[in-house]
């Protein structure tokens, strides 16, 4: 039972990070029907920039309050990623809007290779430690331990998701986004500037990715030029699980995937008599992905897309 509660908490924490990244995938897919393969790398850049800024600040200004350092790291990483997201759309996707469908997939892969290697050139091949600015002191809760950091991650992502829901449902930009998602041509006829909407989608998604990148490096205490790849794939799996193109779906999918993964890793050893261990954690995301696509391709909350499947 202790393991269960503990893994549930771990899963929820990880899941809320997945959800933030998954939102970026799902928003872009909803509007362009395109898998933004470079999105995981945006997350990685967010993590790298924030860690680098914080490390530099700690060295430059000794005795600076931890909260200020964290804020500085986040506030620099978010615009950096927004700019990057805007650039990715302009360079890799906009020229290819009328090209065969495989073309943007390949440019996205090319861009992720470029971003990974740029990060490797700038920050090196080694793991970079997250500076010790956030308390990891665990609290006891129902026989499981939970740290301040974990609580902050979950709360912050819930707030951000609520903010995004408000943006999409209640603002002018959100309405334009929904209209563009339904039909780009008709939205254009109604006076929506489709290009601006698409850029805004990429920029918002990248801002979420920056925050997620910060969170994931704080959670594991590490940042690495290759971290975006697996995170991106899992977040994509989460988006598919919830129903790609569906914003509440991405949130639900992220949380569920995190929990499935944590519980799976916690129990796989017992279930298989020790044959498979917790290092098979990464397999669960893909298993879930394959099962969902085979049994319910539209995802949990997605509309039926029979013709598409």
């Amino acid at each position: 039972m202790d393991i269960f509660v503990q893994q549930l908490i771990n899963g929820l924490v990880l899941g809320s990070i997945y959800a933030l990244v998954a939102l970026g995938y799902t928003m872009v897919y909803g509007i362009l029907e395109l898998i933004n393969f470079a999105h995981g790398e945006v997350t990685m850049i967010g993590a790298m920039v924030s860690v680098a800024v914080m490390t530099a600040l700690i060295a430059a200004v000794p005795g600076m309050p931890a909260l200020l350092i964290v804020l500085a790291g986040l506030l620099l990483a978010i615009p950096a990623c927004m700019l990057l997201g805007y650039g990715i759309e302009r360079v890799a996707y906009r020229p290819l809007r009328r090209a065969p469908r495989l073309a943007p997939l390949i440019t996205a892969i090319g861009l992720s290779i470029v971003l990974q290697n740029l990060a490797m050139l700038i920050w090196g091949r080694r793991y970079i430690a997250f500076p010790p600015v956030i308390s990891r002191e665990p609290h006891q809760f129902l026989g499981a331990s939970i740290s301040d950091l974990q609580i902050v991650i979950v709360l912050l992502s819930l707030i951000i998701m609520a903010g995004l829901a408000f943006l999409v449902q209640r603002t002018r930009l959100g309405r334009a986004m929904r209209a563009t998602a339904q039909s780009r041509e008709v939205a254009e006829l109604m006076g929506v500037n489709v290009n601006t909407v698409i850029s805004a989608t990429f920029v918002i998604g990248s801002a979420l990715a920056a925050i997620a990148g910060f969170m994931v490096s704080a959670y594991y205490g590490l940042a690495h030029y290759y971290m975006g790849f697996m995170l991106g794939l899992k977040a994509f799996a989460a988006a598919v699980l919830g129903g790609i193109g569906n914003i509440p779906g991405a949130m639900l999918g992220g949380l569920l995937l995190g929990v499935i993964e944590a519980l799976g890793a916690g129990y796989v050893g017992d279930l298989t008599g020790g044959f498979l261990g917790s290092h098979y954690q990464d397999v669960f995301a893909f298993m879930v992905l394959i099962l969902v696509l085979v049994l319910r391709p539209s995802g949990l909350l997605g509309e039926r897309v029979a013709a598409r499947a």
């Binding site: 495989l102 050139l121 990464d282 394959i290």
Partner: protein, 375 residues
Amino acid sequence: MVARLLTPLNRYFRARPWLAFALLAVFLAVLPFIVGAGFGRGWVRVLDFVLLYIILAIGLNIVVGYAGLLDLGYIAFYALGAYLFAWLGSPHFGLHLPFWVILPLGALLAGLFGVLLGAPTLRLRGDYLAIVTLGFGEIIRIFLNNLNAPVNITNGPQGINLIDPIRLGDFSLGSTQAVFGITLYSPYLYYYLFLAFTLATVFIAMRLQDSRIGRAWAAIREDEVAAAAMGVNTRNVKLLAFAMGAMFGGVAGGLFASFQGFISPESFHLLESIMILCMIVLGGMGHIPGVILGAVLLTVLPEALRHLGDWQRAWLGEVVVDPSDLRMLLFGFALVLMMIYRPAGLIPSRQRKRELAAEDGVAEQEQASLYDTRA
């Protein structure tokens, strides 16, 4: 300009196909000696890898180019073929079966897994299929990486060592041999073996394309509903594409394992799948000369970019950036630029060229339907 020079040449050889074939045969036969003398013996190894990648690219082209099923986990079949060769021909399990037993078994195993992957994903198209196959490839790699405890099957991240070279009787391709008085080092010997497999692959793929099955694949790629209405058994034909493509991957994997003598899960990373896909797309999807060109370019280019360090020293006086860091960066840029300026590939097939050159609206519509997930 180049085209004007080439046209009469082209016409000349078209009238004398036997001459073209003879010249090509001589060229391919002496190629390793030219490369070995001109660039050093290390490049003969690169040449061997070029041939392996041609086999892989043509195998994947059956799935992606012919049948239009986007597969991002293709390297898993390569891995299965390689690991089967390692299991049956190395001290790891103490088995040393001959290669002519293992290679067909490898093809069979890969084909079986191709069907296993294909069966549940039959209903998916486009991006969805890409992601599922990608997940499949990663699952296989994670298992290879971790199946060393409690029963040591794959030896984990260390990989399997001392894999048997290909051997017929006493004639081993793994050591230097004298043939007709010519001393041939191991990479040269493997070159001729791989060349034979590559030519067979090219031949099979070409014949397949024009066969009844090949036409069924093209029909499914262009419009699945229409193909089904015309009496194509879409389920079986798609499974066949997966199995056929996978078998080429399995054979190539076995060849790779024996050539290299050592395999580890690192060789079967997702990036490899992507590389092979890029070869097809860069060269010209569904078109065998294009696929071969893509495989040659993308195998040679990263190797050539290793010399970036020398060039930097020559031009700038010192090595500013580590070449191994830089080459993947340049490779990524090349992919992006290529797709923006030549989305149909370097040598697109005649059909695709026609589509791109056709009246704008029609071309757009056809392109959209080619890889569209919406019916």
